[in-house]
Symmetry: C2
Subunit: 463 residues, 2 copies
């Protein structure tokens, strides 16, 4: 028991925090390590911030919270985990989730993705789709999402408003893309100046949204990727990043075509070019990064920027596997992204599982006709502990936000996993230790196992 | 309308078949092609065999079936698909699903798998676990499963009995493994003769199970894999296969260790050695086959044997990706296996999805530092149409059973997918054609979308 808590108790419970949750907790504050607390107690203050995490449950304190109706007690077979952080979501692409993945990237973009995104000029359409998307992500335990919207300011603002209404922590970008040679006439910004002006307006409007205090939704400067933006636009957005200190998101070295295109146009890699444009900051998140070099990693690390590893998507639309092990060993900020709809799953846990899978395949290689030692990249694997950190605390650190773990000062963003939910695949046995429980959760949890979700102490989903 | 049906109708409906299902059907009778029938009618006879598939719905005929209470009509948003075929399940490993996958194969086997399998000496334990497994597989749409049980005859028979009771089409093997150098003392057959005798007894007992007419459950000759069996045992089991004509299952060229071990011991590959032992037949299913050569494929093709491709498992416990494209191009019999618990999913659809994924990764390779053309195996990809065929008709053909498609003479083994089920991720839109619907089903269906399952015309699962 801490000194502060002891003081509270001496005061006869008058200084109790707002609410408390009691049960078995599993989290991963440090990459590669998990911590499990049995029958622990988390105290949460009025602002939704974790005040204390007690490794046991003092009976009188629990009774005090229970008497006020302010205690949630987990049942046997239930586990409290940090909410999941999705670092890369194309919100408008939700209707094409699971579709057209048999097409090459150019046809996927031109025949499906861009025509779909263009429809968000209709704010009513946007409201319908975005509402369903937010509900779907919350139901999958995603308490924080970093969203690409579209080039339409009203629809992008609608996404921010809906996140605020539904209580999802969100970072939302109005997409900027003005390059006449790579963006279709039916879906691009009319000029660099217009795109930058609308981005500036969008930032102001999101920051001023009624109810957005304490901040739940942040605006994000969002050049789609270098090939889709003129140099003029990239310069304007880089200046805006410097002026505002806002988050930045873009794609970086995703596949062969993009990587080579940027090299040919700028004479340097995505990461280097972004740094020159002023777009590589502590609050930048780069989606993918499959083709980053060691020098790129140094640049990214020096800036403190983050990488959104999107393993499900990368198995389709990239041309190689992200060097995750190397990035972790350098201490880069890395988290996970679903990359809806390049990735055909709305679940960060499915991406955590697939992050382990593709790291194993990167290590082993794919072609049995080659000698065992030279098929893949030796030592490339990660395990479920690292994958879970990526999905939670790693994602939080990449966003420079106090989320993703159960510790004082962090937001109470959490999900309750129930192995006894109907239709459950999760079968924890008496032989399983906490690490086994977590591994089974990562591999077997379905949406129906996620019984409750909280963001900033507020319950935002319940089955 | 067919001539036969017209005759039935002329007889005033007296000769109507047993029951009928009306709705939108999707199946894949030919590898790489899908067929969708809107508002079709399937007529099913008393033995659970499909009598007719009508591309439209004659009103009077539907009314006749409806009047008898013998018509199931699908609602909008529901789709009828063939039941799924799982060609490789280690039934006793179900409790460790999703666990210990961070360990290397030898520790996975010796510390977890073999000690767990040894517990099935207790038939009560077996009954409890096997019952839950069968329920789980049926709920995931698996209408036919090819099971490895354990070395225990009573528990293996219990698995066969439970499949029969619950109505799952099943092929069950009492595992034979007698090699003292590779099998632990606590879990191996005492001698080759004993293992062969018990296999012979098991075959007779399964064939004689009360109620197993028409045959729903088949016995399978099951040498675990060459390293676990002495030459004497393999010879005895090969002779038994010739005498009985029973199905055979074993592992084949799964990873580096096993492949090299067999080469060193027998001087030839698994496939060649199995052929010499008389174990490579039209009714043999080889699990994995990741390291098969072109010559092995010729042998397998000449025998008409099948391969159980287990992509989820292979990403962990194999060391390369199965050359699926090459196998399909040669016309080999190939289907999918979950490989519970080497594969951490009970879902054949998840394996279908992952079969596409790993084929894309085999094509692309994993290491961006290599030149684009030499990272992987060009042309290796399959698409969702081929994956769905593998999961249904391909699996049926591999087993030499009339299952996996909607055609007269085939068993009515089917699942009803409901996109409007609670907690659904499946969002079919007005823009989606039948191929899009199927692709979304493969990527997004969860267990809760599988609303009903039939085997041989009998409904065996309903949410």
């Amino acid at each position: 028991m801490t000194a502060k808590l002891a003081r509270n108790m001496r005061r006869g419970g008058m200084n109790l925090h707002n609410k408390a949750v009691r049960g078995n907790l599993i989290h991963a504050p440090v990459c590669g390590q998990i911590e499990a607390l049995l029958d622990a107690l988390i105290l949460i203050d009025e602002a939704g911030v974790i005040a204390e995490v007690l490794p046991g449950c003092p009976p009188r304190l629990c009774a005090d919270y229970a008497a006020r109706g302010a205690l949630v007690t987990l049942r046997p077979g239930q586990y409290l985990l940090p909410g999941l952080v999705d670092l890369h979501v194309h919100a408008p692409q939700f209707p094409q989730l699971g579709k057209a993945l048999d097409l090459p990237l150019d046809r996927w973009l031109m025949e499906h993705t861009f025509p779909l995104e263009a429809r968000y000029e209709d704010v009513g359409f946007a409201a319908e789709i975005y509402g369903r998307l937010i509900d779907t992500l919350l139901a999958n335990g995603t308490t924080t999402a970093l969203y690409f919207a579209t080039i339409h300011l009203p629809a992008s603002l609608k996404l921010a408003e809906l996140c605020l209404q539904r209580g999802q922590r969100a970072l939302v970008g109005r997409v900027a893309m003005d390059h006449p040679q790579t963006c279709p006439a039916f879906y691009r910004d009319a000029s660099a100046a217009l795109a930058a002006d609308e981005t500036r307006d969008f930032i102001a409007q999101v920051q001023a949204l009624p109810g957005n205090v304490p901040r739940l939704v942040w605006p994000v400067i969002t050049p789609r990727f270098i090939p889709a933006c003129t140099d003029e636009l990239l310069q304007l957005l880089g200046a805006l990043a410097t002026q505002t200190g806002c988050h930045v998101q873009t794609h970086c070295s995703e596949g062969d075509w993009e990587h080579q295109h940027v090299l040919a146009r700028t004479g340097q890699s995505d990461a280097a070019a972004l740094a020159d444009f002023g777009l590589l900051t502590r609050r930048t998140v780069l989606a993918h990064g499959n083709f980053v070099s060691a020098a790129d990693m140094d640049l990214i690390g020096a800036a403190g920027a983050g990488i959104a590893h999107c393993p499900v998507s990368n198995s389709y639309l990239a041309d190689a596997v992200f060097p995750l092990r190397a990035a972790l060993d350098r201490g880069l900020h890395v988290g996970l992204g679903t990359d809806i709809a390049g990735g055909a799953s709305p679940s960060v846990l499915e991406n955590a599982r697939h992050a382990v899978t593709v790291s194993r395949m990167r290590e082993d290689g794919v072609d049995a006709t080659k000698p065992a030692g030279s098929r893949g990249v030796p030592g490339a694997r990660i395990d479920f502990r690292e994958a879970f950190w990526l999905a939670t605390a790693g994602g939080g650190a990449a966003l420079d936000l106090p989320i993703g773990q159960f510790a004082p000062g962090y937001m109470f963003d959490a999900m309750l996993v129930d192995q006894n939910a109907p239709h459950s695949h999760l079968g924890v046995t008496a032989d399983d230790d906490a690490a086994d429980v977590l591994q089974k959760i990562i591999y077997l949890v379905q949406r129906t196992n996620i019984a409750r979700v909280w963001v900033g102490g507020r319950m935002v989903h319940e089955i």
